[in-house]
Symmetry: C2
Subunit: 276 residues, 2 copies
């Protein structure tokens, strides 16, 4: 039986969850709402810059959990792959500037490129970024994505594939971000979470819910309790394996983005305490 | 290297692919187009009846490949599970009446019911239907569904899970329908196709394509060549393992259903020869 969540001390919200808000507005709203931690998406750094963002974040007292997102390594040309590696190095620099201990990687896929070839290019890409990341003290978290994104977002679609990659790369700076939206169906999830923890690679835990019906492949995620995922059980699996990090609420939802975001943040807090 | 398809001799079309057409219209149109085989969905039997449908089909000369679909075994009540078993027995009778050697099973799932519990209920449900199926000489083909349908359509989402179930049920009348839309991303697909063939359980092969972007979770499948699936490679895997059955075109597409269906059937034939 998973221990219920009694307070907000391990709650983190992704800036993309409250997409209508700018970084400045996210910081103010989260602090005001008593949310202790934030994951910053790169789009909210545009026009602000990582240095300024870092100053705001340090001054706010918010704990910065991750920078989202790097990745997208596979490409059909050498130049495309090189550009991706350069962009990931910049993501590492931005993470360092805002105080994020890791960059979450949406690893990438190219329609028509065989998935095993994409995975080879992903492994090579991460290996190429690693020295820069290690030097900066920033870790890289491979996020397996749901198989419905295997065409153009990620060729890493199961926990086993992410763990295999972590083993292959053999660096303490490479781990996994477990997102229950992507992995709740994975028949090996519990066993592979244990394997990931044994590898000391369980870097992050993302929560939301799977709606029935899911009306859009991208932007119809539910808040915890809106759908069918047994969130407490999966949280129990990561905690049983020693995970004590934040529970990061990452919800892409056209419906929720249409709400008053202050009211939505209160809804997030209630759903977090009741259904996670 | 997979042998190119030189003619239509192994082409089968699902009635659902040409959803605007009645069974009578499908039969006439497929015969007219030189398509040798048909898979019949149960909706087109409504108002016709399996006996009449069987008479039409025998008279047409079309080969009947499958009846779609049985399954949906899991339920939250004993009564619900019993009704599902009864309905699957009726599907077996309908398959026998139309001359279909097997019923394709979309195994079912219930939002909130743990997936392993759903799989237990599926295995029990198939076991309960089996004596009737064996007596009727109709086989049951488990179709693994894409993980994006794990909430309410099927708790069987990989080839490995289907093969595990086949082994557990240990009957020559239980096998697998491989649908590339559902399984193209499966990292174990090639190996598990070989395992399935070794079990003598490779009953059916369904083709279509995965569009980028896929605009709807249900009804935006592509015709062969519209998307990113390497169809010849997967067809090569089933053929290398001895499969000589039909290549069944199963496309749910609001877009294609909006076309003149005669013109669409010609498009299917061209896509079949060029891109499968």
């Amino acid at each position: 039986m998973t221990e219920p969540l009694k307070d907000l001390s391990r709650l983190c919200v992704h800036t993309m969850t409250t997409k209508p808000l700018s970084l400045r507005q996210c910081i103010d709203a989260y602090v005001q709402a008593g949310i202790p931690a934030i994951t910053v998406w790169r789009n909210v750094l545009e026009g602000v810059g990582a240095e300024q963002a870092g100053a705001w974040l340090r001054e706010s007292g918010l704990r910065v959990v991750s920078l989202c997102r790097g990745g997208f390594f596979p490409a059909t040309s050498e130049e495309g792959r090189r550009k991706a590696i350069d962009d990931n190095r910049r993501a590492v620099d931005e993470a360092a500037a805002i105080g994020a201990p890791h960059v979450v990687l949406v690893c990438g896929a190219v329609p028509g490129l065989p998935l095993d070839e994409s995975r080879r290019q992903i492994t090579d890409g991460i290996a190429a970024v690693l020295p820069h990341a290690e030097q900066a003290g920033v870790r890289l978290a491979i996020e397996p994505l749901h198989p419905m994104y295997a065409d153009d977002r990620s060729a890493v679609n199961t926990m086993r594939q992410a763990n295999d990659m972590v083993e292959q790369l053999a660096s303490k700076s490479v781990g996994v971000a477990v997102d229950i939206f992507h992995l709740w169906w994975d028949p090996e999830l519990e066993a592979q979470i244990a394997r990931c923890a044994a590898l000391d690679a369980l870097f992050a835990f993302h929560i939301c819910d799977w709606r029935t019906p899911t009306r859009d492949l991208l932007n119809d995620r539910g808040l915890m309790g809106d759908g069918c995922i047994d969130i407490p059980s999966i949280r129990g699996w990561v905690e049983a394996n020693g995970f004590r990090g934040f529970n990061e609420v990452e919800v892409f939802s056209t419906e929720y983005w249409g709400m008053n975001q202050q009211a939505y943040i209160e809804k997030i807090k209630a759903a977090y305490l009741k259904n996670s």
